[in-house]
Amino acid sequence: MTPEQRRKNRNTALALVVFVIAVIAWSFWRASGGVGS
């Protein structure tokens, strides 16, 4: 695997990790009435 490909893989994975963290945060926010039920 070339360094360029490693960098590309890492960046894609980081974007996906950010998405996962956002979904967890969204779940807690919604469950605690975050939109003002």
């Binding site: 695997m1 490909q5 590309k8 893989n9 894609t12 994975a13 996906l16 990790v17 998405f19 996962v20 963290i21 979904v23 967890i24 779940s27 807690f28 919604r30 469950a31 605690s32």
Partner: protein, 532 residues
């Protein structure tokens, strides 16, 4: 899918198999090779299938006749719960990740998965989760008995076995998320030159979409069980009505995960069937592009229908109507898939080796499960059959006849590539027919039991339900014993028995995986093939 051919593939195989192949226990504990990790996933998931299967047989033993024979109701409920959790998180999901590990790099012409060490970590989290599930039976109060859905408030009142469960779900969820990230990055970034997305085999497409589904839903499950944990031990009140929380909220959060989860367990099977049917019909897959779009449509719609599991909680009529019609909408892309499989077979040069038998069997019984799904989608009927054996019958037609038969189709199809040996065709066919008949004997009567009002998750039942329960129990033991045929065939092939398999083990098989020798060398596609 376009017909994929690769330049100079055999030429790159020669020297690759001799380098960097570790031996002994280190090969497995520190495995970073996608094939080794795939093998470990498959072995692990089959062990969990046996564990979950034994729990199912214990349930059927108790239900052989009315009254309490062998188990206290509390223990029976632990068996039902753990059967579901172990089959979903321990057997079906890891098995498909095993298929993905083995086949995706081979099918897209990649040398390995994108993150080999994370791949190892993803796998080794699984036994830890499995141990937590299993030892929870020995905790004070026993294992989780609140059902695999872990509904509040019951799950808030369970003993420490529930905490083990929550922790296990966290660990297995983390494993799934890492696996999904690995698959997405591999498919998006590591395809061989010329392997465009619309040339990819359908199995890769269905797994790419499944991986996105996993990334969107596993964090929701993690959040839901974390909220359960904090409600249980840290004084929060998400779901505790006595403290101002809302138990129905748990159901909403859970099913936002739970319904797409059903598709996580079936889309990879769709992918496998889309590989097997063209190979044994000796035709290209009918409507490749529509298959891709139908898979994506199913995945998107799966996020919009979660509350059809909750009609019985009480819901405004507009809500019921929305979830009812949205659920029915899923039958359209699913119907596209079934149509395309049948159209692929139409006027093909069909032969019915074991993988094809399981594929055709899959289509037949999965469609029955799909139709009963349409029936329970209708809110007034659902309220009648909610929590009855009708629902058990429905989802076992989808999960056993769907996911499991799909896996068997794939396992027999790729076993020669994995092991370098052909399995015994007669025994393979015996496995299929024995499984197909016994499966229907087990689960078809449950439709009648459910329609007659037999509730699920009870150790006892009224005497009028006896006959169908006797039939179901006999079928269940027959089905369980039938799976030992597969175990025998797989062990035989893996230990080097049977006829040597050719690189292209099936006449009609297409794709890059059939351009490498059988068994697939330890390293493949170190130099990426050029796909035309």
């Amino acid at each position: 899918m376009s017909s994929v051919t690769a330049d100079h593939v055999p030429a790159i195989q020669g020297h690759e198999d001799h380098h960097h192949k570790p031996h002994g226990w280190r090969r497995w504990l520190f495995a970073t090779n996608h094939k080794d990790i795939g093998t470990m996933y498959l072995i692990f998931s089959f062990c969990m299938l046996l564990e979950g299967g034994v729990l199912a047989l214990l349930l059927r033993t108790e239900l052989f006749s009315p009254g309490l024979q062998f188990f206290r109701p509390e223990l029976f409920n632990q068996f039902t719960t753990m059967h579901g959790l172990i089959m979903i998180f321990g057997a079906i999901m890891p098995a498909f990740v095993g298929f993905a590990n083995w086949m995706i790099p081979l099918q897209i012409g990649a040398s390995d998965m994108a993150f080999a060490r994370m791949n190892n970590f993803s796998f080794w989290l699984l036994p830890i989760g499995a141990i937590l599930f299993t030892v929870s039976f020995f905790m004070p109060g026993g294992a989780n008995a609140a059902g695999w859905t872990m509904y509040a408030p019951l799950s808030l009142q369970m003993g420490p076995g529930m905490d083990f469960n929550i922790f296990a779900v966290h660990i297995l969820g983390a494993s799934s998320i890492m696996g999904a990230i690995n698959i997405i990055v591999t498919v998006l970034n590591m395809r061989a030159p010329g392997m465009t997305l619309m040339k990819m085999p359908m199995f890769c497409w269905t797994w790419l979409i499944t991986a996105y589904l996993l990334l969107a839903i596993m964090p929701v499950l993690a959040a839901a069980v974390t909220m359960l944990l904090t409600d249980r031990h840290f004084g929060t009140a998400f779901f505790n009505a006595a403290a101002g929380g809302d138990p129905v909220l748990y159901q909403h959060v859970f099913w936002f995960f739970g319904h797409p989860e059903v598709y996580v367990m079936i889309l990879p099977a769709f992918g496998i069937i889309s590989q097997v049917v063209p190979a044994f019909a000796r035709k290209r897959l009918f409507g490749y592009a529509s298959m891709v779009y139908a898979t994506a449509a199913i995945a998107i719609l799966s996020f919009l229908v979660w509350a059809h599991h909750m009609f019985a909680t009480g819901m405004p009529i507009t809500g019921q109507l929305y979830f009812m019609y949205a659920t029915m909408l899923i039958s359209i892309p699913t119907g596209v898939k079934v149509f395309n499989w049948v159209a692929t077979m139409w006027r093909g040069s069909l032969t019915f080796e074991t993988p094809m038998l399981f594929a055709v069997g899959f289509i037949f019984v999965f469609v029955i499960g799909g139709f009963t799904g349409l029936i329970v989608a209708v809110a007034p009927i659902d309220i009648q059959v909610h929590d009855t054996y009708y629902v058990i019958a429905h989802f076992h037609y989808v999960m056993v006849a769907g996911s499991l038969f799909g896996m068997y189709a794939g396992a027999y199809y790729w076993l020669p590539k994995w092991t370098g040996r052909m399995y015994d065709e007669k025994l393979g066919k015996l496995h299929f027919w024995s499984s197909m008949i016994s499966f229907n004997i087990t689960f078809f009567p449950m439709h009648f039991l459910g329609l007659a009002g037999m509730p699920r998750r009870y150790a006892d039942y009224a005497a009028q339900f006896t006959d169908f329960n006797v039939i179901a129990t006999i079928g269940a033991f027959w089905f369980g014993i039938s799976q030992l045929i597969f175990l025998y065939l797989a062990v035989r092939a893996w230990t080097g028995h049977g006829e040597p398999a050719a690189a292209k083990s099936w006449e009609g098989a297409e794709g890059l995986e059939w351009t490498v020798p059988s068994p697939a060398p330890f390293h493949t596609f170190v130099t990426p093939p050029v796909v035309k």
